[in-house]
Subunit: 146 residues, 3 copies
């Protein structure tokens, strides 16, 4: 058995993001406004600007790159949980350029939506809280197995 | 508060697409047949042929490219809502080639399934209708914030 | 009408994978332990090592490649159904490298998690069983249309 009860689905939100919105900030604000503490998320659309990066597992910091060009959001998947008591999105994005080549990474604040559509599934049940994790240098949920 | 009520999950469909099917057409037909007006979708599989593209945000038209080669559907995410009164899929796809390189874009009609599996979540609640949007040249839902 | 009843959502699991876990094996074990027979899955995170590949539609075998380098799991989408009576994950992954380039394919056993977060939606209703399919050489569910 898992050491804690599972979640159940609460509200489903199917939403258009406003033109010009920052995807990360918009989602954090939306969840705060709607009191969504835990969620699963999938977003598609297009951006005029986007900031993605990867986590250097050895140096333990993020490398960011901002693409100031039109790109398709092919997939922007992840979740929302609590960090410092507030809803905190964790999203990974695949972005397509005009040659249909794909670039991807951890999504940071610093994007500008051209058009986008989000599916946010609220998860009811135990809260998930991000706490510093010594083994990775990230802020992670406590491991069910721990 | 959001200006309209959220959705709730209706039926979940976990389906195999027939060999030779066109992903976009198959999904539109399935939703029409099952009276699914609003849904969230994720598909994985492989195609013998696929048509993807991107939306030129300045010229305001789609550029399409058809790949006549075997590719993996790594992710094909999006939604179904109403356009002209009928269920209309909006899907973005990441496709993998034989070198494991990834190509991606907006999925158009014009694909041929080798094998594929879809998860379609029916969303019950307010209808989402695609209407012309002057700011982007696309057909979008009315913005919750508008 | 579809030839069989749809599914409904059961438990939602939002889980952190342990560092060092094999994604495929971890998910298969989790589902066996929790008696999850059918599910939809999305995972994001990062790996120290990952094995992906594609299915050669003509020769009818998988080509695998193991990446022994740090990569982001941008999307790892798919499902769980029964094969030989046991929960069997079918996942396709988009993986990002340190240049933010994306590689993708069918996910095999043979990965090593740095950090990862999974959303697993249990689907209640008819079982899905993987059986040999003569037309593709794969193990697939019986086609609803068949």
């Amino acid at each position: 058995m898992s050491p804690e009860p599972p979640h159940s689905a609460g509200r489903h939100f199917l939403l258009r993001l406003p033109k010009g919105a920052d995807v990360w900030e918009w989602l954090a604000d939306f969840c705060a406004r709607e009191s969504v503490k835990t969620a699963a998320v999938q977003i598609i659309g297009a951006t005029e600007e986007v900031t993605i990066g990867y986590y250097d597992q050895v140096r333990r910091d993020y490398h960011k790159r901002t693409f100031r060009q039109e790109m398709e959001i092919l997939s922007c998947a992840g979740n929302v949980s609590l960090k410092d008591g507030k809803p905190f999105p964790h999203l990974h994005a695949c972005m397509g350029d005009v040659e249909l080549k794909v670039w991807g990474g951890h999504l940071f604040a610093g994007s500008k939506v051209f058009a986008a559509e989000a599916h946010v599934v609220e998860l009811l049940g135990p809260e998930r809280e991000r706490l510093p994790d010594a083994a990775t240098g990230l802020t992670l949920w406590r491991c069910p197995e721990a």
